[in-house]
């Protein structure tokens, strides 16, 4: 399905509505259905495209890589939408934050299959999926806050490491990260990037 000019205008309007609410401290707007509706329209496409991408790949790590690659690409392609989704709505207030958490929790099913792929399986902690989601989210939000949204795809290997690692352990995750980077990863001194 292609994206029409009308689709793009509507998405831009939704993103602007969310950002306006952030500027105006629009708690009442959030609590109304208008803003959460706009947010849902912005995020449903991201989730659908991620789900489609997660169908590609023979094994779970490849499916996660494909989904993450697609998601980072979508966010990088529309920085104003990325900011609205990841930074503006959660900044509005408690109701906005709950909408945002709902969006993040929607990624849990993609990750849950990693339990079957992990050697630890039943021993993995109950919240391992949210650990992985929080790891990716924190890096993405920091990049958006720093105005580097368009560079998000370059972080695919590093984010992939942090998403796979809770399931597979650091050694296997590092191997898969290297596969994704096609070369030595960006590394840093202790504390760098925090």
């Amino acid at each position: 399905m292609g994206t029409t000019v009308r689709d793009e205008r509507e998405r831009a309007a939704d993103a602007a509505r969310v950002e306006q609410a952030e500027r105006e401290s629009g708690q009442e707007l959030v609590e109304g259905e208008i803003l959460c509706g706009a947010y849902e329209r912005l995020t449903v496409g991201l989730l659908e495209k991620t789900a489609q991408r997660c169908d590609r790949g023979a094994e779970w790590p490849q499916r996660i890589r494909s989904g993450l690659e697609g998601l980072l690409g979508e966010l990088a392609a529309e920085p104003e939408v990325a900011r609205a989704v990841m930074r503006s709505l959660p900044a509005v207030g408690p109701a906005g934050y709950r909408c945002y958490m709902g969006f993040l929790e929607a990624f849990v099913p993609f990750l849950a299959a990693g339990r079957d792929f992990s050697e630890a399986q039943q021993e993995l902690p109950a919240e391992v999926e949210m650990l992985a989601i929080g790891a990716a989210e924190t890096v993405v939000v920091a990049e958006i806050a720093a105005g580097r949204t368009r560079q998000l795809p370059s972080l695919l290997p590093a984010i992939l490491f942090s998403v796979l690692m809770p399931f597979l352990g650091p050694e296997k995750a590092m191997v898969l990260m290297r596969d994704a980077s096609g070369g030595p990863p960006r590394t840093g001194q202790p504390g760098a990037g925090v």
Binding site: G93, R98, L131, G134, P166, E171, P190, G191, G193
Partner: protein, 192 residues
């Protein structure tokens, strides 16, 4: 400040509400803070100091370093469970504050990263990706933020095994991380 922010969010909180709730005259607020943001940042500093205080009190030379750390993390979770507005102010509100608040959050994360840096020395795969420490802290913060945002702060101590797993997972072999996670479960049971 923390209680009002937890109920209404930083953006909707006003100095008038904070002053009224604290039962102090507006002049007293003005003497101590330039504005709402300065008050919020001071509140975060206070929470960090109290959290470090309870974690330090959990340390004992009679315990192994790992057990002291487990008990320290548990003490922070218990503090935040008893004072949900602390957890909210430390983990949720900075995302709702202007850039300076966000930066303060990042500075707080940097302080936490010093601990993580010590663990880097044990890393099997060093050097880790440059975002790995930030991501590790983000995963842990996510668990806390979700409980707090859902009004379930009293459940924070239950997260101890998950938090220990998340904190150690990038640095140690998975079987070793699972061993510490099991120790955290036992400590949890011991604490009831």
């Amino acid at each position: 400040m923390t209680a009002t922010c937890a109920e209404r969010g930083y953006a909707e909180t006003t100095v008038e509400e904070v002053v009224g709730r604290a039962g102090v005259p507006p002049a007293a607020f003005a003497e101590n803070f330039d504005n709402k943001e300065a008050c919020a940042l001071a509140a975060i500093d206070l929470i960090v100091a109290e959290s470090i205080g309870v974690a330090s009190a959990a340390y004992s030379p009679d315990l192994s370093e790992s057990e002291s750390i487990l008990r320290g993390v548990m003490a922070i979770l218990e503090l935040w469970a008893a004072r949900p507005s602390f957890a909210d102010m430390a983990c949720v509100q900075p995302r709702q504050m202007p850039q300076r608040g966000y930066d303060a959050y990042a500075l707080g994360a940097q302080a936490m990263a010093l601990i993580a840096d010590r663990l880097q020395a044990y890393s099997l795969t060093a050097p880790l990706p440059e975002t790995a420490v930030r991501a590790t802290l983000g995963g842990i913060a996510m668990l806390i933020r979700r409980e707090v945002a859902s009004g379930r702060a009293e459940r924070l101590p239950r997260l101890l095994p998950d938090i220990i797993y998340g904190a150690l997972a990038p640095f140690l072999r998975q079987e070793e991380v699972l061993r510490y996670t099991q120790l955290a479960r036992e400590l949890q049971l011991e604490g009831g």
